[in-house]
């Protein structure tokens, strides 16, 4: 199986999507500039400006035009350069994309895929956020955040095939991550979580870039004889907790790792579901590892204390194991 980066896997997925004549891509700097993170590099030359639409810096417009075009039979891909800028498109995403199907009695839907990216690297407060929980909070949206190149390709395929609006969350620090990617037609369904690593002592429930950090933490702990099982949720809405609960019933301990603020964040929902549905199997309080709850500082020494690190995951796992 070929080994690709996340970027290359996404490129494959987008080229596949462009085979459908109804598909066009709309976003900032996707064409002439050559793409902020390189994903759509070369697309303008290949598909032309009709289908690779460099848009003005107008996030509501990018999302809104894509919603409208999707309603009228197109299969658009909207790209919001960074999730921080998606706030300017929230009206279109939350008041429109998410509502149109049910509010108009199921007569038409919004088959839109909106790509955007989380991430941080000394960009300070407005450029380092995650709004995963805000998207995942909204009935009517489907929200995915794959971690591996294979899932990027397979879930993008699923997102394009879906008649509902799908928020496709990437991560700026993950475009270079490598992994095996099946060739040709490859689809990974939305709403199905998987085991990223087997173990028997503790369950880590996580998704997106945190899967990779959790795997590193598991490697470290393996040397001390601690076997960590890791669940990659892959989809945030609908949230499939079945794999996590199975694992939890076996290990009776859990750590939830998410790269967002803790209060009201995705980890709050995940931990609550473990408590509600796995209470009888609980041997120790669940620990959460998240961003520290401050606007992201610029200074590197401070930023490092805010973000989730392998060390913090290791420490949380040890804490849960020692308590029991």
């Amino acid at each position: 199986m070929p080994v690709l980066t996340v970027r290359e896997a996404l490129q494959q997925a987008l080229h596949e999507a462009m085979a459908d004549e109804r598909t066009f891509i709309i976003g900032e700097d996707i064409g002439h500039y050559g793409s902020t993170y390189g994903v759509t590099a070369g697309f303008l030359e290949k598909y032309g400006p009709e289908r690779i639409r460099d848009a003005p810096i107008a996030e509501a417009g990018i999302a809104g035009l894509a919603v409208g075009a999707a309603m009228a039979g197109m299969r658009p891909i909207a790209e919001i350069m960074s999730v921080n800028f998606s706030l300017l498109a929230f009206d279109m995403i939350i008041n429109h994309a998410a509502k149109i199907y049910s509010m108009f009695g199921g007569k038409f839907s919004v088959p839109l895929v909106l790509r955007t990216t989380n991430g941080w690297t000394q960009l300070s407060a407005t450029h380092s956020q995650s709004f995963d929980s805000m998207f995942a909070h909204i009935p009517g949206l489907k929200v995915v955040a794959p971690a591996t190149p294979a899932d990027m390709k397979g879930m993008f395929r699923a997102a394009m095939a879906d008649p509902d609006p799908v928020i496709f969350i990437e991560h700026t620090l993950m475009y270079g991550v490598k992994g095996e990617v099946p060739e040709g037609d490859y689809i990974v369904p939305i709403g199905k979580s998987v085991l990223a690593r087997e173990g028997r002592h503790i369950t880590v429930v996580t998704y997106s870039r945190m899967v990779h950090l959790s795997l590193q933490a598991a490697d470290i702990l393996a040397k001390e004889g601690i076997e960590v099982e890791i669940v990659d949720l892959r989809t945030l809405r609908p949230l499939d907790m079945s794999v996590a609960l199975e694992s939890f019933k076996k290990t009776n301990r859990a750590v939830v790792v998410t790269e967002d603020w803790q209060s009201y964040g995705t980890s709050a929902e995940i931990a609550t579901r473990l408590y509600e549905q796995g209470f009888d199997y609980l041997d120790a309080p669940i620990q959460r590892v998240n961003f520290r709850e401050v606007p992201m500082p610029y200074a590197k020494n401070l930023e490092q204390q805010v973000v989730v690190t392998t060390e913090r995951i290791v420490a949380a796992i040890k804490k849960v194991l020692n308590r029991s």
Binding site: A60, G61, G68, M92, Y101, M103, G105, D164
Partner: protein, 364 residues
């Protein structure tokens, strides 16, 4: 009703063209072009909107209708005149004051009343209510209740029309108050930049809820806002049905020909409050009365009779038929079932519900 001139004959230039130019009016030109039956049809649409909405007010007072109720009474000429220029392949977006546009586009008033009553037979199965009438079979994409937002969706459908080469035009209605927010400016820029076939129809009724235009907009002539985008624009008398029809026809043809969007500012006035709850402290009774004496429906009614297009007796008979239809719509809505609880599950929220439900089945 005597049958005078047919549409085909009207296309032949009059023998004495100078005389015909000097004496022609939007009314005479429309009569030549459309024929009498079509003029009466336009009257019927305006009166149907009027009577439907008067009934809505009554049903609201009787608590058969809930939520917000924004009536279009007084603005009928704009919607009917503008929409009369559209073809079946064209599209409409509108705001929460959507009853008039829906009826002008020919949506079924039984289903509209049922929607207002929150019934399963409503246009949106009772999921949308007054602010969210829609009928995709008529390319009527709906009323949208977030001020200014639907202009971008309209651009999106226009983009689809352009890419699919359907030759369709999108007409989008909104108020003067909607022209101050960012989404308005984004939508104008996109539309002009990409030459999208959109006719933006601003119904300037002088108030955004209760805030007068002098208080809410730096530019008082809304159509001039288009100049920042090099966009074609016009300001028209929105209370004269056939002026609206004639001028908007030009805008529709311009958009359809691929030259780009047009901003039409139609000057009009709403006779009722912003919504059914409005106490109207912001304007005087005299002001309202003065505008009411300029009632677009009654003016057109009188024009039809005075010009001999129809007799007063025929129009009265038509009005009576309209009243019966509105009564029938109320009965239909009353007798219809309420929507089922499946609307509270994933199948009501997603076109393709997934194996993992997002709605908690055990929710108490």
């Amino acid at each position: 009703m005597q049958k005078r001139r047919g549409a085909t004959q009207a296309k032949v230039p009059a023998a004495n063209s100078l005389r015909s130019i000097m004496t022609s009016t939007p009314f005479s030109r429309a009569r030549d072009h459309l024929g009498d039956a079509q003029l009466v049809e336009l009257y019927r649409q305006m009166m149907l909107i009027r009577r439907f909405e008067e009934k809505c007010q009554e049903m609201y007072t009787r608590a058969k209708i809930g939520g917000f109720l924004h009536l279009y009474v007084g603005e009928e000429a704009t919607g009917v005149g503008a929409i009369s220029n559209l073809q079946p392949q064209d599209h409409i977006f509108t705001h929460y004051r959507d009853h008039g546009h829906a009826i002008a586009r020919g949506l079924n008033i039984n289903e509209l009343m049922a929607e207002l009553f929150g019934k399963d037979t409503g246009t949106s199965h009772g999921m949308g209510g007054s602010m969210h009438f829609a009928d995709i079979t008529k390319n009527f994409w709906g009323g949208y209740a977030i001020v200014g937002s639907h202009l971008l969706l309209a651009d999106g459908v226009a983009l689809a029309c352009q890419m699919q080469k359907t030759n369709g035009v999108v007409m989008v209605f909104f108020g003067d108050g909607a022209t101050n927010g960012g989404e308005f400016y984004e939508s104008l820029n996109f539309a002009q930049l990409w030459k999208l076939p959109v006719v933006f129809v601003c119904e300037n009724n002088l108030y955004a809820m209760g805030t007068p235009i002098e208080v809410h907009s730096s530019v008082k002539e809304i159509y001039r806002k288009a100049s920042a985008f090099d966009m074609k624009a016009m300001r028209i008398d929105g209370n004269d049905l056939l002026t609206v029809r004639e001028q908007v026809a030009e805008a529709v043809e311009y958009a359809r020909s691929g030259q780009g969007p047009v901003l039409v500012e139609a000057m009009t006035y709403r006779f009722r409050g912003h919504s059914a709850q409005d106490t109207q402290k912001y304007r005087s009774k005299e002001d309202v009365e003065q505008h009411r004496s300029n009632d677009p429906v009654l003016i057109f009614r009188k024009e039809l009779i005075d010009a001999g297009v129809s007799s007063a007796a025929d129009i009265d008979a038509l009005d009576a038929t309209i009243d019966e239809q509105v009564e029938a719509a109320v009965r239909f809505a009353d007798e219809s079932d309420v929507p089922g609880n499946e609307w509270l599950t994933d199948s009501g929220i997603y076109a393709a519900p997934l194996a993992t439900a997002t709605v908690d089945p055990d929710l108490v």
